[in-house]
């Protein structure tokens, strides 16, 4: 059964058809949420709320776009609302706060040093992304983390491909400035 068939059945009240759509998209929606909020519990809550919203507005889905794009639009709008409401809150339990399973003493080697360095870099990158304006943070997440195409991003954010292009350019320029200390070439100088 393809997405559109499942949506039609779900619109007629078929709970199992909606459950199929949830199964198909829950990891993608969760992945998007966790990459923006950097907290598993919050991302899980957001994902639940996104599917709940989608279910309640399913009757308004007119098959003018793909179901996945429509769901991403709901997800992005919901995550944006969350970010605006929680702009000042910094008390979330972060991924960084979840302890990684420790390696045995004997294996505390170069591999571990590399892992620690990678973790430090990820932490810095998340922090710098959080400092960026919401529109740049979202577009970078969709493109460079989620790996969506310009066309998909344009549909989700309701932007023309030209605007996607220029916004990505500005977002990268700003992120480069923020990451200058860790970029090996000494970026952000030009």
């Amino acid at each position: 059964m393809d997405d559109n068939q499942a949506v039609r059945l779900a619109q007629q009240g078929d709970q199992e058809a909606f459950a199929m759509l949830v199964k198909a998209y829950q990891n993608k929606v969760f992945g998007l949420a966790v990459n923006v909020v950097h907290n598993r519990e919050t991302a899980d809550d957001l994902t639940q709320e996104i599917f709940l919203k989608a279910y309640l507005s399913l009757s308004r889905f007119r098959f003018e776009s793909e179901f996945g794009t429509w769901l991403y639009q709901i997800a992005i709008n919901h995550i944006r609302d969350y970010l605006r409401k929680h702009k000042r809150e910094k008390n979330d339990l972060r991924l960084d706060d979840i302890p990684e399973p420790g390696l045995p003493e004997a294996e505390a080697s170069l591999q571990m040093a590399e892992q620690q360095e990678a973790e430090r870099r990820r932490r810095l990158l998340r922090q710098k992304l959080e400092e960026m304006p919401e529109k740049y943070r979202l577009i970078l997440t969709l493109r460079d983390i989620q790996g969506l195409s310009y066309e998909e991003i344009g549909k989700i954010l309701k932007l023309s491909p030209g605007t996607v292009d220029s916004r990505l350019h500005r977002a990268r320029r700003l992120l480069r400035k923020k990451l200058a200390p860790v970029l090996s070439q000494g970026g952000g100088q030009s």
Binding site: R40, Q48, L52, R122, D144, L168, G187, G188
Partner: protein, 165 residues
């Protein structure tokens, strides 16, 4: 190609969205411009860092679907207040229309003012409507008859006025 133009193109280049001809011209510029070459290297490194944030096996917390089913059962049902609100919203215009129709019916059904005849007025005043007429007919002189008719006319107008009161 100047650096401002090259900078924009570099962002597209790292996304693989540059046409072959434009990419070739950009490559020529990069060979002679260390600043833009450094920018390209930084953008590529940034992309690598960003892809490092990908969580390929990222899954929601356990029992996600079961928890969602439970929420859908409870939260997708309209609340009592929502039902009342919906009915209330529908009931107000219906009530107004019914009220207007009832007012119209009451207004139209109101009895018209009853016009009493001269005789009925006299009967309500417990007087015989024939007494004065007989006196007029019994008058011998025509002048007396005319005067009595005149006064009877005045009296009848007074009686109508009183009957209205």
């Amino acid at each position: 190609m100047n650096c401002r133009r090259a900078e924009k193109l570099i962002s597209r280049l790292v996304d693989g969205r540059l046409e072959a001809g434009t990419a070739a011209r950009l490559e020529e510029h990069l060979k002679v411009c260390p600043s833009c070459a450094r920018l390209l290297a930084d953008y590529r490194q940034m992309q690598s860092f960003m892809s490092d944030l990908r969580l390929p096996g990222a899954e929601p917390l356990p029992y996600f679907e079961e928890r969602l089913r439970a929420r859908l059962r409870t939260e997708s049902k309209p609340s009592l207040w929502a039902v009342v609100e919906r009915w209330y919203a529908a009931a107000v215009p219906v009530f107004l229309v019914v009220a207007m129709v009832l007012v119209g019916i009451l207004f139209l059904a109101q009895p018209a003012e009853v016009q009493l005849s001269q005789s009925e007025i006299l009967l309500f005043q417990e007087q015989s409507p024939l007494t004065e007429a007989r006196a007029i007919f019994d008058a011998q002189k025509p002048e007396d008859r005319q005067l009595q008719l005149l006064f009877a006319g005045l009296d009848s107008q007074e009686a109508v006025r009183r009957g209205k009161q």
